[in-house]
Symmetry: C2
Subunit: 154 residues, 2 copies
DNA sequence: CCACTCTAGTTGACACATCAACTTTCTGCC
DNA sequence: GGCAGAAAGTTGATGTGTCAACTAGAGTGG
C-alpha cells in the first residue's frame, strides 16, 4: 500500500511506449500481410510452420509446447485448421487419450507457398530497418527480458 | 518470382525469433495481470487510460486516432465498455453524426485503481530487466522500426 | 485389482479483432 | 439549393484467445 505510487521516469516511459507502439504496428502489419497473401491467419502460419519443420506429424501436446501455447488454444486452432483441411487429427495407438496432428498435402503446400512471401515481409519491414548490430542488440535485450520473466514469480 | 527464396541469415532469424518470443511472453503476461488485478482487459485499460489522460471526454474518432485503432474496433470496444458502465456515449451538438465518449465515475475509479498496479508490473517485468542504456537503445530501435514502417508501401 | 491422481485433449461461454457493408450527416462545389 | 462524395459511427459475420469445467485414458501405490 503506497499512497504515492512510483511512476516510471520519463526515459523509462518513453522506452516502454516506443516498444509497445512498434510491436503493435509491426505485428499487426505482418498479420495482415499473411492473411492477404496466403489466406492464412498468423496463427495458422506459425502452427503449420512449426509442424512441418518438425516433420509434419506431431503429438498434440508436443506441438502446443513447441509454440508455447496452452492446450485449449491449440485445440481450438487445430479444430479450425482441420475444418479447413490444413491439418488432420489421427488417433494415437500407444495412448488412447492422445492425438497426432498431421499436416495434410494442402497444409504443406500452403506453408511452402506462404513462407517465402512472409520472410520477404519480415525482411522488408523489420530486418531492413536495422543494422546487424542493432539486430544483435535487440536479440540480446529480448533474451534478457525473457530470462527475467522466467525468473519472476507467476 | 524467385525460385530460390532468400531466407534470413542465422543472425537475422535469431533476432527475429527472440524478439517475437519476448514480445509474446511479455504482452501476454501483462494482459493477464491487468485482467486479474482489475477485471479489465488490456483493451479496456488502454482506452480508459488515454481517455482520462485527455480529460475524460473525447470525440469518438479522436480517441480512435489517439490509440491508433480503426473505428470499428473502437466502436465495438466502446460498446462493451458502455455496457459495463466504464464509459458513456453522448450526442455531439455540433455534429449530428458524432459522439462523445465520456469516462464515467466508475471508469475513472477503475483506471485510478488499475494504473499504479499496472505500472508496477511494467516496472517489475520489463524496466527492471534492463539498464537505462538498454531501455534507451530499445526505444531508439523501436522508433527506427516505426519510422521504417511508415515509409514502406502499405 | 482398485482407488487416486495425473495427463491429454475437448468443449462452451465469452471477450476481442477484422472486414465489409451500411446509415446518417456534413461539406464542397456548381 | 442541390447533389456528389467524404466523414462519423454502427452492425453483423467470422475467426481468434482465455478461462473454467469436463471426459477419458494412463500411471502408481497399496
Amino acid at each position: 500500500m503506497n499512497a504515492t505510487p512510483r511512476w516510471l521516469t520519463a526515459e523509462q516511459k518513453a522506452a516502454w511506449d516506443s516498444f509497445i507502439r512498434m510491436q503493435e504496428k509491426l505485428i499487426g502489419r505482418l498479420a495482415r500481410h499473411v492473411q492477404a497473401d496466403s489466406g492464412m491467419s498468423a496463427a495458422d502460419y506459425i502452427v503449420l510452420a512449426k509442424l512441418t519443420e518438425a516433420g509434419g506429424r506431431m503429438r498434440f501436446m508436443d506441438l502446443a509446447k513447441l509454440v508455447e501455447w496452452e492446450k485449449s488454444r491449440m485445440s481450438h486452432q487445430v479444430g479450425r485448421m482441420a475444418k479447413r483441411g490444413l491439418v488432420a487429427k489421427e488417433e494415437c495407438p500407444d495412448d488412447g487419450r492422445g492425438a497426432f496432428i498431421v499436416a495434410t498435402p494442402a497444409g504443406h503446400k500452403a506453408i511452402e507457398d506462404a513462407a517465402p512471401v512472409h520472410v520477404e515481409h519480415v525482411r522488408r519491414l523489420f530486418v531492413e530497418a536495422l543494422t546487424q548490430d542493432e539486430l544483435d542488440t535487440l536479440a540480446r535485450i529480448s533474451n534478457r527480458v525473457v530470462a527475467h520473466l522466467e525468473m519472476q514469480p507467476d
